[in-house]
């Protein structure tokens, strides 16, 4: 695989960077990145990953574009209201960069379909909007040994970390062993969120994904980043591996995806 003349031109501002170069740009071209959720986080992440020349981008989402999405889900537009988000997203990303492949999966991820799906990709970005999916994605990426870049948000606050237990780092369950029971933590799209926060967090996810592919810079796999948009504060806290983790610990309880992942969606 090589870069074409038009690709060399398109990515010239990358190629002149010492940490990217032609070799790095080829790595991006060969990379396959799966976005779980084509919503608030998936939109900005998808736009920049497509522009950056990630060769294959997968979009998985079961929803259709709703008017209330457009305050933050910038991959979609008034013109694609009512269309599946993955189709709307594919159109936008292909328009930015027709040289890459976009795969659209109009479905919810579940314990049956997730492993075959993540197995086809190198890196997964979790931009889902519920705990059921987040724990399922963590566990599936653990079993498939795929690096997972996880971001989430609530009102004015975002969290970000990279999850790669196959490289000796902690998993999501090392950080949060169990999802909250229904009713204790708002976990649905019905909760308010500052639209632009989705941009900040989704772009940080894209940036970490690109660094993972290039193998450059510092990873955030041993930290949790917390961004408070109101206070304008970025803080990092430590994120150690839990030896008693039910998934990646020394005596794991979770050995496959057969557990009940359902967390009801109530506030």
């Amino acid at each position: 695989m090589e870069l074409t003349e038009s690709e060399i031109q398109r990515y010239s501002r990358h190629i002149i960077l010492q940490d990217v170069g032609g070799k790095g740009q080829l790595k991006l071209k060969r990379a396959k990145v799966l976005l779980i959720g084509a919503g608030g986080l998936g939109s900005p992440a998808g736009l920049y990953l497509a522009a950056a020349g990630i060769g294959t981008i997968g979009l998985v989402d079961g929803d259709v574009v709703d008017l209330s999405n457009l305050q933050r889900q910038i991959m979609h537009s008034t013109a694609t209201l009512g269309k599946p988000k993955v189709e709307s997203g594919k159109k936008t990303l292909s328009a930015i960069n027709p040289e890459i492949t976009i795969n659209a999966y109009h479905q919810l991820v579940d314990a049956e379909n997730i492993l075959p799906l993540v197995s086809q990709y190198d890196i997964v970005l979790d931009g889902s909007d519920n705990f059921t999916t987040r724990f399922l994605v963590n566990d599936a990426c653990f079993f498939a040994k795929k690096t997972l870049i996880s971001a989430s948000m609530f009102r004015f606050e975002g969290q970000l970390t990279t999850i790669k237990p196959h490289a000796g780092y902690p998993c999501y369950r090392c950080l949060y062993p169990e999802p909250p029971p229904a009713g204790l933590v708002p976990n649905c799209q019905e909760a308010g969120v500052l639209g632009v926060l989705a941009g900040t967090m989704g772009i940080l996810q894209a940036s970490e994904a690109i660094k993972e592919i290039l193998g450059t810079g510092e990873t955030i796999a041993d930290k949790l980043l917390i961004y408070d948009a109101l206070d304008m504060k970025f803080r990092k806290v430590g994120r150690p591996k839990d030896p008693a983790c039910p998934l990646c610990g020394s005596n794991p309880k979770i050995k496959d995806l057969s557990m009940d992942y359902t967390v009801s969606c109530t506030i």
């Binding site: 909007d129 609530f154 933590v185």
Partner: protein, 90 residues
């Protein structure tokens, strides 16, 4: 004095304050002190048996107390405590 960082989901209980100052010798002490000033906050942090919930992390400075001494983790003046619950919005 210990600075406690209150996450967005719990701010309705602290009159929307993102940071509150308390005096406490341990995390258990801090939870009870917070509860006295902001009733209802303890139930968000601890389950019925008084154990810290598994989807809410508490950090002293930058360390997760689950990897220190849990609720018995000692606090000293000048420490910064952060309460960080799992959030799922995307």
């Amino acid at each position: 004095m210990i600075k406690v960082r209150i996450p967005t989901p719990l701010r309705p209980l602290t009159k929307n304050q993102g940071e509150v100052d308390v005096t406490a010798g341990s995390i258990a002490d801090l939870v009870n002190t917070l509860e006295a000033s902001y009733p209802g906050i303890k139930a968000r942090l601890c389950d019925d048996s008084g154990e810290l919930r598994r989807f809410v992390n508490i950090y002293v400075n930058e360390e997760d107390i689950r990897f220190l001494k849990g609720k018995d983790t000692a606090l000293k003046s000048g420490d910064e405590v952060s309460i960080v619950p799992a959030i799922a919005g995307g």
